[in-house]
């Protein structure tokens, strides 16, 4: 293949990818008009959990850190949201900011500890952080640590002040579009981070730490910054969950929830920003409709995970992209 043909092929692949993303965005925008009310909220929840999976995908796919602590930061987001709403009496924007802040502030000491550890130690440290936080919160002896802001059902319908008007979450359309808008913003931010020089440096660290430190990259600092940055997405997801479901739970802190993020992101594909959403949607839709017929659907999903790891390590979304690019080549 000569150079012109190669460039031509790349241009066509880019065009088809662009068309695909436009189609996807358009589909997400018109989606709520074609589904009943409760499914609009369900779709919003998929977006929220997808954002949670994305926060893992960034840490793992770009940073090479297999973190089992993402759930803690999702939970911190829920906690921060509740704390700001009930204790500080902030409005929705303030509560969302507080949620992200809570996750990030908690990520600074824990991330400092964890990112110093390598590979297997890192994994174990993240599990231990989760277990520690969950144990403390679940014990009841330490209620003063988190106050009554962990497990909480929202007693009112949240409102989003926009200056000229105010959006009420009474409408499922608001739930969906508000979530979609913030998730789209978050994905754009993630795209900027991943494709920035910082993201590229981190990928270099992931692929070869020794070489990266020899060319002058500060390995520990890069890993730490990425860890903290990713927790902001988990915190935002926690806040959005509190808004959409109007309910938060202690169990969100449990590392089994981090495991869910791992599964969703890996099945969908950790090397793209769409993959985690795809994996989450696949899991949630399948479990919603298949669990009626087969209660322990999760077993099937475990098998799907093993098959994906074995035959499509780039994930299902990666598989779709590869197939469609392959088609446009012909």
């Amino acid at each position: 293949m000569n150079l012109t043909q190669e460039k031509d092929r790349q241009a066509r692949a880019r065009a088809s990818a662009g068309a695909g993303y436009l189609l996807l965005a358009g589909g997400l925008i018109v989606l709520p008009w074609f589904i009943p009310n409760y499914q609009r909220v369900f779709a919003a929840e998929i977006l929220v959990w997808g954002l949670f999976a994305l926060s893992f995908a960034i840490v793992y796919g770009v940073g090479g850190m297999l973190s089992f602590a993402q759930a803690v930061f999702f939970g911190m987001g829920c906690w921060g949201f509740n704390f700001a709403t009930y204790y500080l009496q902030l409005n929705t924007w303030g509560a969302i900011a507080a949620a992200i802040l809570a996750a990030v502030l908690f990520a600074i000491p824990t991330g400092f500890l964890a990112t110093r550890a390598r590979q297997h130690h890192f994994l174990i440290v993240t599990v231990i952080i989760s277990v520690l936080v969950h144990t403390v919160l679940a014990s009841g002896h330490y209620r003063w640590v988190a106050g009554p802001y962990v497990t909480r059902a929202m007693t009112f319908v949240p409102e989003v002040p926009l200056g000229f008007t105010s959006l009420s979450f009474r409408s499922e359309f608001v739930s969906y579009y508000f979530t979609l808008a913030l998730v789209a913003l978050a994905v754009s931010a993630a795209w900027l981070i991943v494709n920035s020089p910082f993201g590229k440096a981190l990928r270099a660290v992931r692929d070869n730490e020794t070489r990266s430190s020899l060319i002058g990259l500060n390995v520990n600092r890069l890993r730490f910054l990425m860890f903290v940055a990713a927790t902001a997405f988990a915190g935002l997801a926690g806040a959005l969950y509190a808004l959409v479901a109007r309910y938060t739970d202690l169990e969100f802190f449990n590392w089994t929830y981090s495991g869910k993020a791992v599964v969703w992101a890996v099945v969908g594909g950790v090397h793209s920003l769409i993959g985690p959403f795809f994996g989450t949607a696949f899991y949630m839709i399948a479990s919603e409709y298949l669990s009626q017929y087969f209660e322990q659907f999760v077993v099937v999903f475990g098998v799907i995970l093993l098959i994906v790891i074995r035959y499509a390590p780039e994930g299902l979304w990666g598989l779709i992209v590869r197939q469609s690019v392959g088609r446009s080549r012909r």
């Binding site: 599964v263 209660e295 475990g302």
Partner: protein, 285 residues
């Protein structure tokens, strides 16, 4: 005083069982270079199988014979079928182990049910300890765990296969060049690790409740033991497991169990920060 003694003894018994499980985790890590997050679930499957065998045959002792053999088979199949094809990527292997953990947990929930069950004390005798009575079964359980651990170390240091295992762990390529069948060593190691966790499950079944979430409680304990003892340091791991469990037992005598667990977790964090090679590592290792 009696309470302290009883709690410390309970800690010792449980610590020995955890040591057995954590040793399995540690040899799998040492050879295959993966953190087996499904290891707690192997333990859980061991307890469940013990329950099934007791219910089916009425004979608890049969479980001691059958379950470890099933463990060897299960471990061998998992290594061959699931982990071998992706051995080049440790991260993917860990995710695969997590998938396995989901399958085991939810599979047990689907078949065995979600409600915790109990196995009656198979010995049913007690001996006097100061003014209290202590279950003989617990002492027996500790004895079995010690025997299994001792047997494992004898196997590792005094048989040809054990020497192969140590050789592959030290330098896989050199060992292969010397004619050690590395692939067979991997299968046997994983099978052994699985069997040890499941034997631990059988031993622990009468003194804990039997349910599908059991692995989630045990796995962090094994992680702590493996970290405090030093990742891949087998005697250190066993010692750390016993030490931590006794410590938790002693703390429980004057504080809430949660506080005891938090102290262990904090201790582990400190060890990880100050001595990442483990508490018992020799200098310059």
């Amino acid at each position: 005083m009696e309470l302290l003694l009883i709690l410390a003894m309970n800690g010792l018994v449980f610590g020995l069982i955890v040591a057995l499980i954590a040793l399995g985790l540690s040899i799998i890590f040492g050879l295959l270079d993966i953190i087996n997050v499904a290891h707690g679930d192997f333990f859980m499957v061991g307890t469940v199988l013990a329950w099934v065998i007791v219910t089916a045959t009425g004979n608890y002792w049969a479980a001691f014979l059958i379950v470890p053999i099933l463990g060897l088979l299960l471990g061998a199949v998992i290594e061959r079928g699931i982990l071998r094809p992706i051995e080049d990527s440790p991260a993917l292997s860990i995710v695969a182990a997590f998938g396995l953990s989901l399958i085991l947990q939810e599979g047990v929930r689907a078949t065995f049910g979600a409600t915790p069950k109990r196995i009656l004390d198979p010995i049913g005798l007690t001996i006097p300890v100061l003014n209290l009575r202590y279950e003989v079964y617990r002492l027996f359980a500790a004895g079995i765990a010690v025997l299994a651990i001792a047997g494992f170390f004898l196997f590792l240091h005094h048989t040809k296969f054990g020497t192969w295992m140590r050789a592959v762990r030290q330098d896989r390529e050199m060992a292969t060049a010397m004619g050690v069948p590395a692939n067979r060593v991997f299968v046997v190691t994983f099978a052994l690790g699985t069997a040890m966790a499941m034997l631990g499950g059988v031993v622990a079944a009468p003194i804990t409740s039997v349910e599908f979430r059991l692995g989630l409680d045990v796995l962090p304990l094994c992680f702590i033991a493996v970290i405090v003892g030093g990742l891949g340091n087998l005697p250190g791991t066993a010692a750390a497991a016993v030490l931590l469990a006794v410590m938790e037992g002693v703390i429980t005598s004057f504080a809430a169990p949660t506080t005891a667990r938090i102290v262990s977790l904090l201790l582990m964090s400190i060890v990880l920060l100050l001595r990442p090679q483990g508490l018992f590592a020799k200098a310059g290792r």
